[in-house]
Subunit: 340 residues, 2 copies
């Protein structure tokens, strides 16, 4: 078994461990945030962690009505004009906690006196050292280059944090059911042979998701780029209609992320437009007619990203295996990317 | 002459008209913003306007140190849980001012009592009606589907607004020189024959830019997608290194946006990595060796997006013409996209 297959399979137990062990730190961070009442949040992250940040942006808006900015590290590292984070909550997300640009944002925010939170798999990392609250992923070492278990663990930590800030016990308890849901979702991976065979022929792709699953679309596209070199572009249905839809003609493949919930209808409509232009559609969630479909286990819609990313991970690895890619070390990527 | 060629050529006079006529409204908006001291800004936009928003995000951080969030309209239109924009500045950018999702964000922000600003080419549009300050683009009707003159006009209005909030007269005066610089940049379009011939063979592409020109990279990629169907993905050098670089192998083309300034070295380094992997590079700005190069007129680096986008517009139209695309109505796109 490849490392990445093993790490994908570990996701339920990682989640279970994180939920069992991280309640105290999450509660402490949530209490300070609830007490200081930041007006907005800023999140610094790269790669898969940036896709987890997109989910946090959605959830902080939805559950605690907080506007969220994704950070612009270049203002810190290249322009030396960092923003004033007055009345802000600043969150850094990084598996390794080692990327200097992300650390620079947290360092500055702490210096300015903000509430700062690090979400990381390495509690001894520079990022952890820079933050006043450190939320650990408990994922164990991730050895495959493509992030999988640290992505779902990041999503889950952020979901727990936001539900705690909201003081929403019902949602906290829904989260407890997710390790078991994730295990059931993983078991559906055996159904993917047909779509893997088709996807092995894709060279370009659009991945469409919105709301809770906007970040899922970006993470699915990133896994496909990293593992298979498919030129996969992620967008919301609305953004895709404002121009990029031009690319879609005969045979152009589009993958929709459509778990049940408020965004499913809009993704479905977009896929119908794609089919009207002669494009080919596949869907994670509810499909229509003869469409390629990756089924999802039913979960509360605010937690759909935890299960919806799994078939995308399995699809990317399946295609990579079929293409003969070294799935644990694809295309000369390195595990830790230090950017400034 | 096509409409899009004519509209690209009109850009200097549009800029000149906007600067001559919009000083009063920009000053009034800047005064209210300086008086109310919002802690952060939220910008709602789609398509090319969203790329102008990326520039505004950079500039508000850099010149007035304000963190900027790009809005999540789905929280308004699908989840019915709009964020609280307390102490925020909320800006909507839309050529037509007609997209319901963007209007919904401004409506809600005004209802909450925020300072609201609309940047639009139609001062009778729903977006203009929703905002307390309306900044007009003065672009005249834009008839080609691909936005060009409304994009540079949006960039310039936002530059003027931020410089005014900062009370920076030197920068306001630098802006006055841009119509002439833009005219000189347009005149370099005759040099593009070689790169147009090469780019007509591209099916995939990465466009790399950062800081002031992060939005330029996205706008260049969008023009190429809309007009030529090239699967163009934009990223900062740092984001590109965190995964997407995997796509780059022999012959994979990467276009760098590298005007002189704090980001040029990082873009240059990324292009060198690309060449080390066997990829092909082209650059808008300073090139190296045998690289395809699109030259830029020298301008103050905070205003580089006004000139750096021009060769990208010319390249996209040139490739489209060569491929026989109907450049004014490419691939069934419509001029006004109303999304919710």
């Amino acid at each position: 078994l490849s490392l990445v297959r093993a790490e994908i399979a570990e996701q339920p137990e990682v989640l279970e461990r994180m939920l069992a062990e991280e309640g105290g730190t999450i509660g402490a961070a949530a209490r300070e945030i609830a007490r200081r009442r930041p007006r907005y949040a800023v999140i610094a992250a790269r790669g898969s962690s940036d896709n987890a940040a997109r989910y946090a942006q959605h959830l902080l808006g939805r559950l605690v009505r907080m506007p969220v900015a994704l950070a612009t590290p270049s203002l810190h590292t290249l322009y030396h004009e960092p923003p004033r984070y007055t009345d802000g909550l600043v969150i850094g997300i990084s598996q390794s906690g080692a990327s200097p640009d992300i650390v620079a944002v947290l360092d500055e925010a702490r210096r300015q006196g903000c509430v700062t939170v690090a979400v990381t798999n390495d509690t001894t990392s520079p990022l952890a050292g820079a933050a006043s609250h450190v939320l650990a992923l408990h994922a164990g070492e991730e050895r495959s280059v493509a992030a999988t278990k640290t992505y779902t663990a990041s999503i889950a930590v952020l979901a727990a944090l936001v539900a705690s800030i909201a003081g929403d016990r019902a949602r906290r308890s829904e989260l407890q059911g997710m390790p078991e849901a994730l295990a059931r979702q993983l078991a559906l991976g055996a159904e993917l042979d047909e779509i893997v065979a088709v996807a092995a022929g894709w060279e370009r792709l659009a991945v469409i998701g919105r709301g809770a699953d906007y970040g899922t679309a970006f993470e699915a596209a990133l896994k496909l780029k990293e593992l298979t070199r498919i030129a996969a572009e992620a967008a919301s249905p609305a953004d895709f209609l404002h121009g990029p839809i031009a690319m879609v003609g005969d045979g152009f493949p589009v993958l929709g992320i459509a778990p049940p919930g408020p965004t499913a209808a809009g993704v479905r409509e977009l896929l119908d437009v794609v089919r009207g232009r002669g494009g080919d559609t596949a869907v994670i969630g509810k499909g229509s007619g003869d469409e390629l479909r990756l089924r999802l286990i039913a979960v509360p819609d605010w937690l759909s990203p935890l299960v919806a990313v799994v078939p995308a991970q399995q699809l990317a690895v399946g295609v990579a295996e079929r293409l003969g890619v070294d799935v644990d070390n694809p295309f000369g990527l390195e595990k830790i990317t230090r950017t400034t």
